[in-house]
Amino acid sequence: MEWVNAVVQGTLLGGLYALFAAGLSLIFGVMRLVNIAHGDLIVLSAYLGLTTTVALGVHPLLALVLVLPVMALFGYVLQRVLLNQTLGQDILPPLLVTFGLSVIIQNALLETYTADPQKMDAGALETASVSVGPLALGVLPLLTFGIAIVVIAGLQFIFYRTALGRAFRATSDNQEVAQLMGLNKAHIFGLAMALALAVTAIAGVLLGIRTSFDPSIGGARLIFGFEAVIIGGLGNLWGTLIGGILLGVSQTVGAAISPGFQLLAGHITFLVILALRPNGLFPRISG
């Protein structure tokens, strides 16, 4: 039973990892930008959630009403003012600039909130659980998993069923010709980053309810996100969810074997899949 429980808990944890990963995947897919600051943006969202809940006395999930648009707007401005300037033939400048951004965000958070671990108070939601047969499933992990599915389905809908998604895909395919269609590349990229950071806001707030956080934990969230994206296959959103689940299950099963083995088990799964299927399990079928 212990194993079944580990697999189920890991699957639910995978939902959170998929949320970490979805924004990364979207940004890479649309503009081939690897955002090193992604994990720190998740942590920034958690702190914004914390400040909102404390200042307004609202439930953390309600804080999203504010955090989500703020992060989306921040994403748009960040892209237009800074990141668009770094995009070009050379892949190094965006890496360096987002690395710098990561350092800046960490230090700003450290200055503002100190290094002490913080946590959001979500009241009964944190401990509530439902029993399914012999298993006790936390309501928060279930909710997180449900949100992950809704977010990915929503992104999928935007990508494949809307004019904005068409513009994303066209720009991703061929930036020059996309511009010949009247698409303003700088604006499209701004919208993509806005959407990615909206997802990041959700991921950050859910993270901040689930565990305590401090300004230094962004790097690990970035790695989990990366691993989920690569396992699932670049450019495939449902693949990213599967990647998140595999990573989560590896970690919880690893922890069931031996508590110290948790993170390592996740990394080993990642490396094995990378070795066997360098393009991930479900690479985007390209024309």
Partner: protein, 235 residues
Amino acid sequence: MPDPILALHGLDAFYGDFQALYGVDMTVEEGEILAIIGANGAGKTTLLRSISGLIRNAPEQILYRGEAIGAGRPDVIATAGIAMVPEGRQLFPSLSVEENLMIGGRTGRAGPWNLSSIYKLFPILDERRHQASTSLSGGQQQMVAIGRALMSNPDIILFDEISLGLAPVIIKDIYAALPNIVGAGMTALIVEQDISKALSVSARVYCLQEGRVSLEGRSQQVSREEISRAYFGAS
């Protein structure tokens, strides 16, 4: 004489340090079909890319309806009414046939062209509307590329080697459709390797040689000798 819809004044174009066009002068009247010919590497594509904004030039070197667009952004120029059918078609592989056409209509310009008029022009595309654009034959892909440009209801359409890599019978079909395309007062610049095709559909012709205009004239009046001299240089 009315003002030209498009005028190039001493157009210079560069790829980094390499200069590809040297002081090209050209005028295009509204509604006219103009052919641009020249050997490989003469600068034909560079000329079209300059007009469409993919290459930035000095602003005053390209005037569109009297307005300096030489340094304009490609999306702004497209919205202003200049569309391009790029060399090698360059369809969007992640988009279906219909989505490729729809994205062409994104500029929101009014005019006769919409999905149903494109499907009337190229009925085969209607049958294939939901297929991946890459699953089509070369000729059908070229139809999509042309349809995609038309969807923006441009005032000027730039064709870069629409017959490249296509079977002769397909080329014939596409050129047969050309009068329907540019019939409605649209202005067209046609870059073409097939000189006789280029001359037969156009009113005037420019020949480029190593980035310079080497010949300019009425398509029906230029002689074979003039053209081969303009193509390959003085002999």
